[in-house]
Amino acid sequence: MRRKSKTKPVLPAKYLLLILTGICIASMLLSFTLNISGGPLHTAAGYVFIPMQNGINKIGTWFTQKAENLKNLSDVMAENEILKQQVNELTMKLTTTELERYELENLRELYELDQKYPSYEKVAANVIGKDSGNWFNTFTIDKGSNDGIEVNMNVMAGSGLVGKVTNVGDNYATVTAIINDTSKVSGTVVTTSDNLIVSGSLQRMNESMVIVFDSLNDRNDKVAVGDPVVTSHVSYDYQQGILIGYISSVEMDSNNLTKSGTITPAVDFEHIQEVLVILNKKQTVKD
């Protein structure tokens, strides 16, 4: 039974504030020096929140599917008419594309891109929650260390790079997307093998759905709009040869040596539902 609070020793609010501030600052400072991930707090929180997020997610997908089914019926009829017209136009275009594809296959053979993807061991996971704020592009997936996921593993959706795992619990993992404002990826332009640095930008992503790149060294002006960009061999965290996106604009920097511009990501970050986590980690020199 509850007693009157006078008998209990009461800790004044300002002392409690001081103590908790100290704990917060200590954990922030520790996180810069030590690499603390997981821990009992994360495990406990994982078992409380993840099953519920899973449930909400399942209900949500069920509803969207039902709604889409209804919408589709009426839309399909109208769409059919338009599509028939498009078929004619596209058949014309196809012939030209066929020629270009032949060229692309030659290039692929050159870079052995085909062989690089399937050799990685992957695990599929569902996206069950997103970052609670509006500043960062991180999300939670429903697989964790129980399924062999570790921090810094690469995450893909379809054939494009999504990001990397930055935080792992027993049954969940937090993925930081490449479009996140703090993300940086070292990339390579496939056509010329020039390296560049891709960085996420909240502003550019909001404005025109692109991410920015810089430090591209392209003396001969070979890099053109539409060129695919993949992760580079010098990247510290990312496996080589995963598609990041396609160059959408290139500009000479004011220093007249390097170029910068924008890349359209290969992944539709607004509607990610399933991702693949690559279980092979990039092998790097131990320091």
Binding site: R2, I36, F49, Q53, G129, D131, S132, F136
Partner: protein, 172 residues
């Protein structure tokens, strides 16, 4: 005990809604911030101490699942709960102006702090852009949702206080 469980449930439900349902109902990829409303509301309804504890736990949940610097959001939300506690003496349940003003101010303040430490320090200097495209839309959306959320929290709190008063009378 009853109060602790109720508050824990409120925090869990708000976090779940914020990270799942409201992420599906975004306007221009902006979603409302329910946890700041919970923190601020308990701050001015229940005082500094409860405000700071509830703020701390709201922030802790965000810290755990955001994968950022652990402790940053805990501290931010804790101070927001604490400062809202100063307005307890001015708070009357019938008056909606002060709560709305305080929750709006809390949301603005927290976003400015996030911008200052996590964006400005990395050389993202265009504050007007972030103000009009992130901070303001979030404020508007949060206030819209808060109109409903605030009354739910207020009713829950009033019920809890009534139960507590009744049981206190019994055992004096």
């Amino acid at each position: 005990m009853r109060r602790k469980i109720t508050v824990a449930v409120i925090i869990i439900v708000c976090f779940l809604l914020q990270s799942t349902l409201f992420k599906a109902l975004t306007f221009a990829s902006i979603s409302p911030n329910l946890l700041i409303a919970v923190t601020a509301a308990f701050g001015f309804m229940r005082g500094k101490k409860e405000g700071l504890i509830i703020g701390f736990f709201c922030g802790l949940v965000i810290d755990i699942f955001s994968g950022g610097i652990p402790g940053f959001y805990s501290m931010l939300y804790m101070y927001i709960g604490f400062f809202n506690g100063f307005f307890r003496k001015l708070f009357y349940p019938e008056d909606i102006k002060l709560p709305m003003l305080l929750i709006a101010a809390s949301d603005l303040l927290s976003n400015f702090v996030i911008y200052f430490f996590l964006f400005l320090f990395r050389g993202r200097f265009r504050l007007p852009y972030y103000f009009f495209n992130i901070i303001m839309p979030e404020l508007v959306y949060t206030m819209l949702v808060t109109v409903f959320l605030y009354f739910i929290i207020l009713k829950i709190n009033q019920n809890l206080e009534m139960i507590e008063k009744r049981s206190a009378k019994k055992f004096v």
